[in-house]
Amino acid sequence: MTEYSYYSLDELDVIFEQADDELATRLTIAGSKLVKIYKISIPPSELVQEAIVRLYKSKDRRNLPREVSIFRAMYNIMRSIASDEAKRSAEEIYKNSVSIDEEDSNINLTEVVLNETSSDSSELWERIITLFPNDDEVLGFIQATREGYTPAEITKHVCGENNTLYSTIRRRIMRGTSQLRQEIH
């Protein structure tokens, strides 16, 4: 497993102060894609801002690893914010749609929302799977991801500890899903 070391807060100050327009452009475009894929109503620049806030937070602070590019690390934080926001919005919408009687019962809101959204998830997973009808390696990779395996677990169980095979399959999935990703963005 990769061992990471992280930038200090002083180093972060310098990194952001020296950030060029290219980083701002890439992060904004990335944010815009996340807003569309997760169907959230946050401007891309706010996703960037929230990511920065989380890097400087006093509690539960996120860290930037030195071994990963600033763009990549920031994108991953923004992705997690967008994903959380999508779940929060789904819960909010459900909460506002239940009647007072239903509110009285002890229902687990998160579970209900997960069940409601799982049919959308299944549909999207099926769309992804149908793009690779004859590729067992890709299908194994996708199935493992769908079941919640981490990249390290997929490398171990699906790719026989072969990192190169992991990257090759991932690249095939990237190419194969290119159009689908354009469509849903």
């Binding site: 894609k33 894929i37 806030v53 994108y75 799982s118 990237m174 990703r181």
Partner: protein, 138 residues
């Protein structure tokens, strides 16, 4: 194991393209309507340090609030000592003076026959100070 969201999977696949695609290619396909957002992002990055200051400020504020809470507890203890009463005694005085609202009266009434711990009574007094029902300065 928790099943994963296909959107997480697809957005993870975007990362390589977003990072390696030339800015010209990326901008020509994705940039439309984002000029203003890019400017705001650039400003946000340049001023990132201010979020660190805000975070420090937040910490200081939390510390101050904790301090206020403990001062308030100490003040209540001192006040009770000066009055020669315990928290129960003060609550009874306030009840007799008609200063407690119905909800609190009901709460206290239902405790009848059961011991209200002194600590809980002090907590009620702290709440009453915050609500302006009991003036600790008097």
């Amino acid at each position: 194991m928790k099943p994963s969201d296909p959107r997480d999977f697809l957005s993870e696949l975007d990362i390589d393209e977003l990072e390696t695609m030339s800015l010209i290619d990326l901008s020509s396909s994705e940039f439309e309507g984002l000029e203003c957002e890019v400017k705001i992002t650039a400003e946000t990055l340049k001023n990132a340090k201010s979020f660190r200051k805000k975070s420090k400020l937040q910490l200081a504020r939390e510390a101050l609030n904790n301090q206020k809470q403990s001062v308030s507890t100490d003040e209540i203890h001192t006040k009770l000592k000066n009055m020669g009463k315990d928290a129960h005694g003060v609550l009874i005085d306030l009840l007799i003076a008609g200063k407690l609202n119905e909800n609190l009266k009901t709460t206290l009434a239902f405790r009848d026959g059961n011991d209200l711990p002194e600590e809980e009574a002090e907590q009620i007094l702290r709440d009453l100070v915050e609500l302006g029902v009991w003036n600790i300065e008097e």
